[in-house]
């Protein structure tokens, strides 16, 4: 008998926040959602790259400036760097056991991914909207 009758908390409430990540299904679900988003937009961009016949500035610039391609690129950058952050986060959770180093690594991953996504989106906007 574990005194379940006197228990005021639901089992879920007790389980929440435990585990190395302090967080669970939200991460799992967003990892899958961003994987699908990255996969779909990435396939579009791969198709775009496969048609490329030269690395000429005017050709590549026009390709990225195309309204549809530019929109897919922005979606790809946001979804992909979010996905990268989630994946790298789990690797640090699994292999870095020193709390301070782990926290610094997590911050670095978050900042680099966010900054890269912002830089990429800004570059696409400059190309698409003409400097």
């Amino acid at each position: 008998m574990n005194g379940r009758g006197k228990e005021m908390q639901a089992p879920l409430k007790r389980a929440r926040g435990l585990g190395s990540a302090k967080d669970g299904t939200g991460h799992f679900i967003w990892q899958r959602v961003t994987a699908i988003a990255t996969g779909l937009s990435g396939l579009w961009l791969l198709g775009m790259l496969l048609t490329l016949r030269s690395a000429d500035y005017a050709v590549v610039h026009a390709l990225v400036a195309d309204p549809v391609n530019a929109a897919v690129l922005v979606a790809f950058l946001l979804g992909m760097f979010w996905h990268a952050r989630l994946g790298l986060q789990v690797i640090v959770e699994d292999y870095v056991h020193t709390p301070l180093t782990a926290a610094l690594a997590q911050l670095a991953i978050l900042f680099v991914c966010a900054l890269a996504a912002i830089a990429g989106v800004l570059a696409v906007l400059r190309i698409a909207l003409g400097s």
Binding site: A35, L46, L50, R53, A55, V60, A116, A123
Partner: protein, 138 residues
């Protein structure tokens, strides 16, 4: 029994077997490769963003970036990156199907591990075949 007096007596505790205990298997390789290729792609993504910034920065900066990609080292890195991309794509789809409960019997699991490993090499080679077949033709 002088040795046992000076050293504390430690009870042999069971350890969970670590990686080197196991025989290499396709399932193991496909799982490890998914993480490894994920890290490679994250680093490559930074180069991708650098390329976009070079393109936004004008013709001169773009041609410097394109020359880097076209150098022997750039070509090797692009080949490696494209394989990592093909692998993470195929194995990622495999993971999503597994999340749906598909392909979990042991023979299926081993077979679709091999599909990821061999398929990624085939897909990367096909992609480069397509690009190189019409590269430089206006």
């Amino acid at each position: 029994m002088a040795a046992s007096d000076s050293e504390p007596r430690l009870r042999e505790r069971p350890l969970s077997p670590h990686l080197q205990i196991y025989r290499w298997q396709a399932q193991m390789a496909s799982s490890i490769l998914h993480r490894a290729t994920g890290v490679i792609l994250a680093i490559g993504a930074l180069a991708f963003v650098y390329g976009l910034m070079a393109l936004a920065g004008g013709a001169q900066r773009w041609s410097a970036f394109a020359d880097c990609l076209g150098s022997p080292l750039g070509r090797v890195l692009m080949a490696g990156f494209s394989w990592a991309l093909a692998y993470h794509l195929i194995n990622g789809i495999r993971h999503l199907l597994q999340d749906g409960g598909l392909g979990f019997s042991i023979p299926d699991f081993v077979r679709n591990s091999w599909i990821s490993i061999i398929g990624s090499v085939v897909l990367a080679a096909l992609g480069w075949g397509v690009v190189l077949s019409h590269w430089g033709q206006a």
